[in-house]
Structures are given as C-alpha cells and as structure tokens.
C-alpha cells in the first residue's frame, strides 16, 4: 500500500466498526484490518486494481449502486456495508455467472481444498443454477513441462497476466480471444517459455494454472508444511516446503512473509527435488586398497578419520590441515567447522566458498566503512530514488533483489543506471537493462575502466559533495590525481561508452537523495574485484551519498550463506564476528570459551592451501560440500594437489569429482533435512527448518563435526543446532533473529575518518590504474562463464524440475557475430583456445553483446578446460570466469 505518514489518516466505518487507515488505502484493505474479509478474485495487494471480477461489491453510503471495494479508495467518514442482504445477493449473482462456465471438476482439481471459488461457492450460492446453456469448453492444450493450464476452470481475473507483467516484467502470458472465450495462453500454440517463477501458479485463485511437478499427487489437507529458507541464492527467500509423509510435494511462498514477500524464482519454486535425487550418498564410504569405495558404518568412518587426523597432527602439527566448507551450510555448521579446524585440529587454514567472490565485497566494506554488511535493506532498494547496478545480471543471479529493483523503477520511478555487459534486448526472461534510465553497455572485462569513467565524470562535472574537499583534502586530491592519470580518450576507447553517457549517469546518480549501488558477480568474481568495490565506495563518498540514510554499496551474495560464512569466521582472515584473525582480545576470549589454544600460524586461504598441499606442507584436508576439482580450472592443478595429500575427507551429498579422490566420504544432509540459520545477502539471519528425515544415513554437517570431535577426545557437544546458535550469540552478541527486517548498520565514523585521512592510500598506486587485456587475433571472443536463472552451482542440476527448463549448456552469442561466423541456433560449434577445444551447441541471443560469448557455469564440465586461473594478490580470490576463445561452426543443427 501507498506509504504515508500519520497525519493523513482517514476514518471510516466498515460493518459498524470504525477504523483509521492511511489515505489512499483501498476499501477492501481497510475492511481486512477490522476483520471483514471481502470475497474477491481479481484483487491482489501486489497488483494494481483491475476490478474485473465484480466479486468484491460493497455498499457505500451516499454512493449510487454497489462499488468494487478493490478499486475504491477510502474517504473520510465513509460508511461501508459488506454484510447487508443486497450485497449478498449481488455477490451470489456474480458467482452464478462465473459458475455458469465453470466445469465444477473439483474432485480432479489440484486446487480443490484451497480454492477461492470453492470457498465462496460454499459461502454464497445455492446448489442450483438458472443457467441451462452448455458450458464453454476449451480444447485441452499442452502448456509447458512444468506448468499446467486447465482453462475451463479460469475465472478470467487476469491475476496471472498482471503478475507476469507488473511484478515479473516478463509479460509471457496473453489473454487471447475475448469475452467468455478468453483463454490464457503464451504465444499462440507455443509452449510456455518464461522465467518459470511459478508466480502465475501461486496467484491463480482457482485451479486454472497448476504445477505439473505435483500434479494429482496430493490434496491440500494431506500436506505437512515446514517454513524454511531457500538454498539457491543469497536472497534468502522464505519458502514453505509441503510434504506428504516423507515425499516432497511442492514449495510455496506467502504474500507478506519473508524478504521475498511471497515472490519466488524458478529455482525456489521448482528446484526442490535436488535434495532427494537418487544419487545421494546413503552411507559413509571408506576407500579400499584397490581405490574403490566400500560402505562403512559411521563408527568405522569416524574412527578412521579421527585416527588419521590424530596421527597427522602428532607428526606434523595443526598447520598440516586444510579445511574448506561450502557456504550452503548453516551458520551453526560454518561456525562449528571453523571451531573444529582451529580448535580441534589447530589449523588456521580455513576457508569457504565465500572466497570465490563475496570476500571482494566484504573486505573493502570493512576497510572503508567498518561494516561487513549492507548499510541498506531490500526496503531501501524499493524506496531508493537512484539505483546503480554494476556488473550484475540481477535477474539471473539474485532474482528477488531484482524484483525489488523492478519495483523501485516501475512503481517508485527510481532512476536506474545499469553498467552491464547485457544488451537491452527483450527475451523470454526479463532484462533489467530494459528498465534502465541510463545503460552503459560494458564488456565483462571492462568494468574497472568504466567505473573510473563514472568517477571521472563526478570530478569533471563538479558533482563532488561540496564539503568533502575541506573535510578530506588529502583523499580528494589523491583520488583526483589518480583519476586524472587516465584520459577520457582512453576511457571512451576501451569501454566503448561515450563521455556524455558517463556524465549523464553520474548526474542522475548524484541528483538523488537515496542512492544505492548494487554490485554483482561481474565485479565480485572478476579480476580486480576488491579494487573495483573500493573505487565504488570512493564514488559514493565523492558524491556525498556515503553514510546517508537509504544509501550504500551492496555486494550481492551468490550463495545462500556467503554472508554467514564470513560472519561465522569460516574464511581465512576472520574469526567469528567477523573479527580479524589476529585480534588479540577476541583470540583470548575464544581460547577461553573453546578451552583450547588457538593456532599461531598465519592463516591461509583456499588457493594457498592447495599450493601448500602440492608443496607437501598440507598433509590432510577436510572438504565439506565443495567441489574444487570441478569449480576451478585444470590449470589450478587442484586435482594434483589433492592427490598429493596423505588423507582427504569429503563431506558431501553426492559423489563429486572431488569426493571421488577422498579417503573417507561422510554423507551429509541437505538444507531440507536440518535445522539452523542462513544469513542472506542483506545480513538478515533467518531460521532454516528440517522438513524431511535425513536421506539414508546422512547427518547434518554440524552433527558430524560434533561427533568427530568427540571421537577425537576434544568434544564439542551440542544437543541441537540451537545450542550452537546460543554459543554464536555469546561470541557475537545479539547475532541475528531480531524482527522482520535486517538491521542496517551505519558506517563506523572512526573507520571512515581513518580511511579518508590515510586508509585510502592503501593500494591507491594500483587500484585506479587502467590496464587492458588485448585479445589475440586468433581468439577474438571473450568467453564468460555465467550464472543462469534456472540453476545454482551444480547442486540444482540434480533437480528434475529445473532440468526440464534447462538441462544442458549452450554457447550463447550475438546475432551479428553468429551471422559473421555462419552460425545459427542449434548448430554445433567448436570453442577453442590454446588450452583445448570443446564442441557444444550454439544459441543466438539478442542480449549477448558483440565479441562476447557466454556459457552457463552449471554445465561447464567440458568447457572449463578453456579457462585460466588468476589469483587476486590482495583478496586471494581465484578468478576463472573469463577467457579468450575462437568459435567455428562444426555442423548444422536440425532446426
């Protein structure tokens, strides 16, 4: 509802009850507040009123005829009657009309038991009808592999169509035809091709659009619900998992609940079967002499691990251990893992998948402003008046944050500046750059120079915060000098964006009062990620937006608990907090609490561990839920490193390439089988709850750490995940669980001060220097490994629902490049460079920029051999998302 302040309250009476509501409230909402539920089909709080179903009629005194309460706004002194006989009569008539064409096939309808039409019919209509005419019958048409339509049941409320347009901005649904014969279709008889967010399934008040994943499998009253958090990205959507006995039936979300406020993406809505894939590891496995795995009991496996760990610790000391954990784990597990590594094994070699990019956001935030979290929330995105999106195809990586951006632009009229490689072309999924007020099309390897261009525009156009030069003269002068060393000609030439567009964008952003920068994988997972984020913080400071309410720089977390991994101390440089690893007081406090001496050796991160493993210094590794052999390119020699270990333990759901190298594999539970908390991208700590029993003999990761510590005689014992959370709260006072909105930390004044005085100088010699990677003439295409909307890492590729939408990778390229190379969608294409050659299928897409090719990372098993590995000197992030290749057509595809 429209926001307004208390002065604009309007008082009205609904069925004799008086209430005050903000001006602009709709009568139907005002009635809800006093407990009067007005029946409706076409109204939905997310959508603009359409008033097409006439079900919500009420009497309003002094107004002729009955009024639709879903489109009438309250007025002072209004007297609304919903429970008078002629209102009842009118609603009955409306229902009679709707039912005149309804098949009344409730016994075979999946909506039966939770259908608005069924409920209202019970409430209002007699069991007979005056209509004797034949009912409308639509021929049954196939709609899509995941979504079923049964148009005879449609009440033509257009909620699905409006949702797909207004909220999703996908516009994939068309009411075709007219009148009674209006039918919801995609495009003619074509199968639905869209974002598959499931929104239309959820918003349809009747059984006209349903999910095929659970078709005919259940009745709503058989379902047992569990409220939990989605595991597929950092947005942290609230989902309700519905099961029948121990069978997963469906996932839904609830309007008004969770950070997603009832919206989901395809991964959340259709991806829930990954956990119950038949390939799940059911028992502990121990590798035999012959290299094959044999099934073992938990006792045998844990004892073997404990014995080996003890032996290695005695022989080589704690520093011989390395530990890597996935940030898909809960906070409790991440906390316990680092406690196990540091406290039990005595090693400072701890890292998590937050290393793959999220640290590039956190480290600069900490050093510039002293916060490790966003200083804004999703609500601030919606309320922003200017949003700057950099290097993020937000719809595909963080779809729900993307919806907040769409809402800000479409409803709040925020200015949107996008700096993205995607071109603003319409496709079957939405494209955020189409909503941009200013779009800067920048190749994926040119974000750095484009950011420099943006800052240069601020300086050159006099857009600098007026007080800054006096407040922080050294900072101002140093940044200016650093920026001045790059010329406009160079910026324009490399980035391909004109000076004018830069300055329009800079103007647009600095004329805002609530300006936010949202940074995505294009920056965080590319070389110089941390430098770019620091530079963007400089941009915020220069424009005077830094530290202002509703402003801030927000790095998007890719994995569901990237943020938690850092806060729990599951990265090399941090103890829980996150507090710097060397912080004396924290070390002492932890030593005391854990009753151990903390290791003194310098911390080592992911890539250093592998390096040291190859050098023989790391003897054993404990890898939880990560698959570095597959996620890092061959040139990183990860496999060689792991093979040189004396002992490798993997804790996994599936026998991944990495797990196959292990000496012992411990079967772990997925997110639907355990309790705990996840911390989402905006720093909101949310409860994860167990929905089904553990698959096979698998156990939650925390339980395994705990059991292992007991066998090793250094017990970390907890009865349940909640006990660990209590300990976390004693280490990080007040951690998490405080109300429905994430807390917004404000930048620490002393840290910012320190940064402006001297901190800025750190790395200044290099971080504004624009370098340029020239493609070799024989490998002219920049190949980017990108995230798809329909998958999350490799985990989701075990979900039968998502595989129906996307089951393989394809090399995506621009039509003009395709034409030049004589390539069409469906053709086999050879992608090659000095590292090898791979044949794959081509897909021609308007939104891919020229000279760029994209391939979804979820299916990169073969193609990843073409990528190289670069390690960030500062943040130690391994980069392997970009490479140069050439493309050739091999064979014509069948069209």
């Amino acid at each position: 509802m429209a926001e307004s302040n208390n002065q604009d309250l309007v008082t009205l009476t609904v069925d004799g009850m008086t209430t005050s509501v903000p001006q602009g409230t709709l009568v139907i909402e005002a009635a809800r507040q006093v407990g009067v539920m007005i029946p409706h089909f076409c109204y939905h709080p997310k959508l603009t009123p359409d008033a097409n179903c006439r079900m919500c009629l009420v009497e309003i005194e002094k107004l002729p005829r009955l009024q639709t309460s879903c489109s009438t706004k309250v007025a002072e002194g209004m007297v609304v009657k919903s429970n008078v006989p002629h209102v009842d009569e009118a609603r009955k008539s409306v229902l009679e009309f709707i039912l005149a064409n309804h098949p009344l096939d409730c016994p075979v309808c999946d909506q039966g038991g939770r259908c608005d039409l069924q409920d209202f019919s019970h409430q209002y209509t007699p069991t007979t009808s005056r209509f004797t005419e034949l009912k409308r019958v639509f021929p049954k048409e196939y709609f899509s592999p995941l979504i079923e339509t049964q148009m005879n049941r449609c009440v033509q409320c257009m909620r699905c169509v409006r949702y797909c347009d207004q909220v999703m901005d996908v516009k994939a649904l068309a009411p075709s035809g007219r009148g009674t014969l209006t039918e919801i279709k995609h495009f003619s008889a074509h199968e639905l091709d869209c974002e598959f967010c499931g929104g239309c399934v959820q918003i349809c008040p009747v059984g006209a659009i349903t999910s095929r994943l659970s078709m005919y499998d259940f009745r709503p009253w058989m379902l047992k619900r569990t409220d939990t958090i989605c595991t597929y990205c950092g947005d942290g959507c609230h989902i309700t998992i519905q099961k029948k006995q121990d069978e997963l039936i469906e996932v839904n979300s609830t309007q008004g609940v969770g950070r997603n406020n009832g919206d989901l993406c395809a991964r959340g809505f259709f991806g829930y079967h990954a956990s119950v894939h038949p390939d799940r590891i059911m028992h502990p496995l121990i590798k035999q002499q012959d290299g094959r795995f044999a099934q073992a009991t938990w006792e045998e496996a844990l004892e073997l691990v404990a014995e080996k760990f003890q032996g290695i610790k005695t022989a080589f000391g704690g520093n011989a251990f390395g530990g890597l954990v996935t940030s898909r784990c809960t906070n409790e597990e991440l906390y316990l893992f680092q406690k196990f590594m540091r406290g039990v094994l005595g090693s400072n070699r701890v890292d998590s998948s937050a290393r793959f990019g999220h640290v590039n956001g956190t480290l600069p935030l900490l050093s510039v402003q002293g916060t490790h979290r966003w200083t804004a929330t999703f609500e601030d995105i919606v309320d922003a008046d200017a949003l700057l999106l950099i290097g993020t195809n937000i719809t595909e990586t963080n779809p729900i944050t993307g919806l907040k951006v769409k809402q800000a632009v479409k409803q709040g009229h925020a200015i949107l500046v996008t700096m993205e490689s995607l071109l603003p072309a319409r496709g079957t999924i939405s494209n955020i750059t189409l909503l941009a007020t200013h779009h800067l099309p920048v190749r994926p390897d040119h974000y750095h120079i484009a950011i420099v261009g943006l800052i240069k525009s601020v300086l050159d156009n006099g857009l600098v915060d007026p007080g800054l030069e006096t407040r922080a003269p050294e900072f101002f002068r140093a940044i200016k000098a650093a920026i001045d060393s790059t010329s406009w000609a160079h910026i324009e030439e490399v980035s391909g964006v004109s000076r004018e567009v830069f300055s329009q964008s800079a103007h647009a952003f600095s004329s805002s009062t609530r300006g936010m920068i949202i940074v995505g994988q294009g920056v965080l997972r590319s070389p110089r990620g941390a430098e770019m984020v620091t530079n963007l913080l400089d941009f915020l400071i220069l424009t005077g937006r830094h530290g202002q309410p509703g402003c801030g720089l927000c790095p998007l977390a890719e994995e569901n608990n990237d943020q938690g991994a850092i806060e729990m101390g599951a990265t090399a440089e941090f103890l829980p907090g996150p507090i710097a690893i060397g912080h004396h007081d924290t070390r002492q406090a932890l030593s005391k609490l854990w009753e151990v001496d903390l290791p003194q050796e310098p911390a080592s991160s992911l890539m250093e561990m592998f390096r040291d493993a190859q050098a023989g210094q790391v003897k054993a590794m404990y890898i939880v839920g990560e698959n570095p052999v597959e996620s890092l390119p061959q040139t990183g020699k990860i496999k060689e490193a792991l093979e040189s270990l004396e002992f490798l333990v993997c804790q996994e759901l599936f026998l991944t390439e990495t797990a196959q190298l292990a000496d012992v594999v411990l079967p772990a539970c997925s997110y639907v089988e355990k309790d705990g908390t996840f911390t989402n991208t905006e720093g909101m700590v949310q409860p994860v709850r167990q929905a089904i029993d553990p698959i096979g003999e698998s156990r939650p990761d925390w339980e395994i750490f705990s059991a292992l510590s007991v066998v090793m005689d250094q017990p970390m014992e907890y009865g349940e995940a909640r006990d660990i959370f209590k300990e976390i709260r004693s280490v990080i006072p007040g951690y998490g669980l405080v109300g429905p909105v994430a807390t917004r930390p404000t930048p620490k004044v002393d840290v910012v001060q320190q940064y402006l005085q001297e901190g800025f100088a750190h790395g200044l010699a290099t971080r504004y220097v624009c370098t340029q990677d020239q493609p070799a003439s024989d490998t002219p295409f920049l190949l980017a490994s990108t995230q798809s909307l329909f998958h999350s890492g490799k985990f989701s590729t075990r979900s039968k629902g998502l595989l129906q939408i996307q089951s393989s990778g394809a090399i995506m390229l621009n039509p003009s490049d395709a034409k030049k190379l004589g390539i069409a969608s469906g053709d086999s294409v050879c992608v090659s460079n000095a590292h090898g050659a791979v044949t794959t299928i081509a897909r021609v897409l308007n939104r891919i920029p020229p000279d760029v090719a994209c391939f979804p990372e979820h299916f990169d098993q073969d193609i990843r051999c073409l990528f190289e590995l670069h390690i960030d000197k500062e943040s130690h992030v391994p980069y392997s998302k970009l490479t140069w290749v050439r493309l050739e057509r091999v064979e014509k595809g069948d069209v």
Binding site: V170, K171, S176, G177, K185, H186, F187, S188, R426
Partner: protein, 174 residues
C-alpha cells in the same frame, strides 16, 4: 520482413503516437494487408519494433475478430448474419454458399481461392442479404447472384456485381 519493406510507412506510424505501443493496431493491419492474415513471424517482428513481447502482440491480435489468425484464401468472403440480413434470408443463403464452396465458416476451399466467414453487421442493413469480399461490398444477394460473383472472381479476379464506389447512401427509388 515488414521492417525492410515498409520502413518509411512504419516510421510514419510510430511518429504519430507519443507511446510506441499505440502503433500496435496499425502495424497489425499492415501485417494483415501484406499476408492476408497476421502471421507468427509478423507478430514477432511487431513485438520487436514496439518493444513488446510476442504474447502481448498476440493478445491484441486475437481480441479483434477482424484480424485473421490463419492464412486465408485469395478471396475472403464475409457474409453478414446479423438480424437485418437474417430477416431477408441470409441464413439459407449462408447454407447455400457452404454447399457451393464445400467449406464451413472459418474454412478455406482446397484450391485456396475462397475463405468463408460469417460475420456481424457490416452496416448495409437496407440492402441485405449482403457480403464483403476482400475490400468490396456485394448487396441484395441471391443464390444466383452469389454464384455469378464467385464464377467471375474465379475467372477474372474481379466481379462486375460489386457495389459502389459511392460516398453517400443510394437514393431511395420507388
């Protein structure tokens, strides 16, 4: 491809409206003129020109009954079935035409010459029964006259029995 063939015309259409999307109906008309019906490829192209999705174009095209969503024959025969024509015998005439052409409403003859449609009032109530073939009206129809019209159309592509051109109603003659 409409965009290449009618570049100037489309530019002119787009220039007429403050919102691009408003040019949707004129463009659908253009597409129908071009191919006799609104083809899928035309809808996709229009979507691209107007920055809409194909489903959005499809929605509008299917709302208007005068857009043909399937290929039609060379001559689109639209016979009025509204009340006024009904009173002067359009029903039996429609039956007769169906037999003569061997197709029902919405169908096209196998030689792809005639598509039969039965439509609502075409505004020629004083001279019923009547029909419209492509852009021409034929009025005061009888089985014999319709037969002749079809023959002539088949042979010459034109028929002498068509009405008009006229700008004002015919004078009433007694």
């Amino acid at each position: 491809m409409l965009a290449e063939k009618y570049q100037d015309h489309i530019a002119d259409l787009l220039a007429r409206y403050p919102v691009k999307r408003s040019a949707l109906l004129p463009l659908l008309n253009l597409a129908q003129k071009e191919e006799g019906y609104v083809s899928e490829s035309a809808m996709k192209e229009i979507a691209e020109i107007l920055d809409l999705t194909p489903p959005q174009v499809y929605e509008t095209a299917t709302f208007y009954t005068m857009f043909n969503m399937n290929p039609i024959g060379k001559f689109h025969v639209q016979i009025c079935k509204s009340l006024m024509c009904g009173l002067v015998g359009s029903d039996p005439l429609i039956q007769w035409v169906q037999q003569r052409l061997g197709v029902g409403p919405g169908q096209t003859t196998s030689d792809r010459l005639f598509t039969l449609s039965v439509v609502e009032c075409l505004g020629s109530c004083g001279t019923g029964p009547m029909m419209q073939v492509n852009d021409d009206y034929y009025e005061r129809l009888s089985e014999e006259r319709v037969g002749r019209i079809f023959d002539e159309l088949k042979e010459t592509g034109n028929s002498s029995l068509k009405s008009g051109p006229f700008m004002v109603p015919e004078p009433i003659s007694r």
